[in-house]
Symmetry: C2
Amino acid sequence: MNQMCVATYRCFDEKADFDKKALSIAVGLTVGSWTELPEARKAEMEKHLGKVLSVEVHEQAGSERYADIRIAYPDINFSRDIPALLVTIFGKLSMDGKIKLIDLDVSEQFQSAFPGPKYGLEGVRQLLGVHDRPLLMSIFKSVVGHDLPNLQEQFYKQALGGVDLIKDDEILFENPLTPLEKRVEVCMEAARKAQQETGQNLLYAVNLTGPTSQLASQARKAIAAGANALLFNVLSYGYDVLHELSKDPEINVPIAAHPAMAGAFYPSPHYGISASVLLGKLMRLAGADLVLFPSPYGSVVMPKEENLAVKEALLAPSDTLRTSFPVPSAGIHPGLVPLILRDFGTDVVVNAGGGIHGHPMGTAAGGKAFRSAITAAMNGVSLREAAAQPGNEPLKAAIDAWGIKE
Amino acid sequence: MNQMCVATYRCFDEKADFDKKALSIAVGLTVGSWTELPEARKAEMEKHLGKVLSVEVHEQAGSERYADIRIAYPDINFSRDIPALLVTIFGKLSMDGKIKLIDLDVSEQFQSAFPGPKYGLEGVRQLLGVHDRPLLMSIFKSVVGHDLPNLQEQFYKQALGGVDLIKDDEILFENPLTPLEKRVEVCMEAARKAQQETGQNLLYAVNLTGPTSQLASQARKAIAAGANALLFNVLSYGYDVLHELSKDPEINVPIAAHPAMAGAFYPSPHYGISASVLLGKLMRLAGADLVLFPSPYGSVVMPKEENLAVKEALLAPSDTLRTSFPVPSAGIHPGLVPLILRDFGTDVVVNAGGGIHGHPMGTAAGGKAFRSAITAAMNGVSLREAAAQPGNEPLKAAIDAWGIKE
């Protein structure tokens, strides 16, 4: 059977004949020319020809005229890798006027070449032994220019607060002060020390950086040194690099995808690639176990509708792909936790930097405040009520500092 | 000495205090925090701190308020690779409101890690033995669904017209009908056959595709089969992949960078990365010998100012990097040649698809029409005058079909 991948474009033009435009895409990005072909040749070429599935024109006085155009591209035309898919559906076309790639559905056949997340949401939960609540992730405060003892201390304080995951800052690269393997060793030592106090497991996502051809060996070195997770700046390397790392059997730890550079693609209404494709569908297909993306709450915002579309893409049921853990990030403080749970449910990682390190009672208290907020929200107890309970002083201090947003 | 890479951003906001914004970028993307550090620590951290070089606010009634902000980032903070540089200067920041990366100047020290184009403009000219005129490149008409004899015939007809380079269509991936090595063999055979008639050398840029980790071995296979150039969809793989291919001593043929997906980055005034950085500076730094980009003339347009900024970035004098051949593409016909030469000078590749294959007298005549137009323009002869000369019937037919644009 001739399977196809379906791309949806939003195309802006005040005058264009969008049906004609759609046909020119379907033909131009597949067989090149059609009407002029002899009939016998058409029969042979039919299986390569793109199909226009739908053209929905939106025109209203006072708003920009646009159409949502859906085109199906035969799998037979491209190899089963993300670069080939993207070059086909949005290579030349990306430069052809005001046009944005707003959705993408790959065929079962195409998808079958992708194992997807090795751990996924359930696998990460199993590693941590936490099945019934949102996870809590924290981010180092400052890392550039700091040495190993400093990083170890920061790590320990974060771990003491009861966080489940700690991630490197994405701008921490290979450097003489805190080289990868040493960093893993001292941080995992801090993790074990904190575990003796908290009794809980912890994943440390160390930033995987450097030349593309050396990433797999860097990952193996990090794992040999004790790393139990990786952070990866996917968009600066390409989805195929993530895919190859993720399917590598020796890289047997979860990979968290960082959205660095995503803002170069998704925010324009007229150009680029929508967040649900960029940070949702493609990250999951390429094998990200956790995906960070800008939250709709904080300092780096993304409209809520787009945010939930990313979540949806990461969690949608699939026969072959595990789900990826959604990690809405930036500007998160404990007073937002009930809102996050209302929007995302419990299958979410609450991720905070300043909301932990900037806590008036210190970093460890920052983590504790979040954990209390999560417990309260899970039990339907208001944050104010929970904050009044003995032992929940950190939550009270957090609310006093940042308030509650509902 | 503490060397720094300098990024320039255009940042839109109706109300923001842009000086404050600039400072928050310079601190936030380097040391993380500054004012609260103890003095002794500041002395240690100074060398890691980003610097605001300038903030130019543009506010005019009736236009959007924006500022051009220049920030210098100490090299010491990132490893010498393009992913680390991009994640530092435009990772998180890309998601922080309406902001576009409009320029980038890397330090000498950073640049010293990049050999740049292995051949570059002069090297490509030497391979072809053509030093005194613009080169002519042609693109296959239709490739998807065609077999080897068909491609060979298309190739031969293009080569007969006197083109200097022929490039694969960027959407031709590894496929059973025209697999890489076989394709190279039959096309190079056609090239040799044509050379017996035309007496001229020809480069065939075969499309390098497939899994990232296998690209280098695919390139070596193509070269072993006779390929004398490569085409590469850089943005779907990442600049670092191009850099690694380009510096590989075994990949001893020029690499032409295709701009597929570039439209997801450069056209928005508010978001993304300007064409001069995306297709100019970074392509050259990563080692592209030729760079294709949308021309300001044809079907897929880019404003002329931006176009010339790309050219400028590819050709700017440098002590360490060879220049890259500019290849303005799309919608080019012979009647545009004088205009192209006026805008680009003679160090340009005139690149045509439809303008060659769609010629009323056939593909070979299409190439000849371009060559006549180039000769005329070089000699200051008007196209109309040249077209009237005996032997220049193809040029006349092209002008009758597409006109002359001045």
